[in-house]
């Protein structure tokens, strides 16, 4: 058996560059699904500010639903298990990968298959939505940069769809 585990990604590691938009695979990171009835419970546990409005982000934590948050952190990061508290903290690091879509045409590219009006989607907002038939989480990192979280098994298709749309 090999001593080193080789990471096998579903999409190419070299960025796809088209006119006005670049699609690339983000570096691996830790992801946690945080579930709790109130944001205060999580704030007590993690000792950081947790966004309370659905769609808001704060220091790597995105509020996806009334009782659901997504925490994205460095690979080396660890977080408390929450044992004894009324929370559910699940490591979902390898469930999804992150595609970075950047450039002046980034919003236009996402809107080829996503029904949201991303022109009204402010920087720092995050939401779960759908691209054609694939569920994604869009995080607007900057005016011209979006992070798209997608489940690994859908990633190859999404990459093909993005690159095809970007070439047009």
């Amino acid at each position: 058996m090999s001593d080193v585990l080789i990471r096998n990604e579903p999409v190419p590691s070299t960025p796809f560059i088209a006119e006005g938009v670049t699609i690339s695979l983000a570096a691996p990171q830790n992801r946690y699904s945080l579930r709790a009835r109130t944001a205060q419970t999580l704030e007590t546990l993690l000792n950081v500010k947790v966004p309370k409005k659905i769609g808001a982000t704060e220091g790597g934590i995105a509020c996806l639903g009334p009782d659901e948050w997504l925490l994205r952190a460095e690979v080396s990061a660890t977080i408390p298990s929450g044992a004894g508290l009324p929370v559910a903290i699940t490591d979902i690091s390898d469930r999804s990968i992150c595609l970075v879509v950047e450039g002046p045409r980034a919003a236009e590219l996402l809107m080829t298959g996503c029904p949201l009006n991303l022109d009204n989607f402010v920087v720092g907002r995050a939401t779960r939505t759908i691209y054609e038939t694939v569920e994604i989480i869009i995080i607007r990192d900057d005016e011209d940069r979006f992070h798209v979280e997608v489940w690994r098994s859908f990633a190859a298709w999404l990459w093909a769809a993005f690159t095809a749309a970007a070439s047009h």
Binding site: I54, G55, L64, G65, P66, E68, P115, L116, T127, R128, T129, I130, E135
Partner: protein, 90 residues
């Protein structure tokens, strides 16, 4: 595309993010073993099929993931209102 107001996200979102989950306000009998076969059948299978105003459960499945209730007109497909689960019938 129809826009549906999600009472949890508090904004109008595209229909494709939602899933219908059948008739709303169907309460499970508190003591199932006291029910006759007919009453249990009515709870399990018998649903209203109105022409017009209909109370339905919907789920913002590709969004916040929450179930909520909606009043939809089955003729025009127009959503009259949506409200959070647990709130009284409108």
């Amino acid at each position: 595309m129809i826009l549906i107001h999600c009472p949890y996200c508090d904004e109008k979102r595209p229909e494709i993010e939602f899933a219908n989950a059948g008739q709303a306000h169907v309460a499970r009998p508190l003591d199932p073993s006291s029910q006759s076969d007919e009453e249990w059948e009515a709870y399990l299978f018998i649903r209203a099929n109105p022409r017009g105003r209909h109370h339905e459960r919907w789920r913002h499945v590709h969004g916040c993931g929450r179930f909520f209730n909606a009043v939809r007109d089955t003729v025009t497909d127009k959503f009259e209102t949506t409200y959070k689960a647990g709130e009284p019938r409108r």
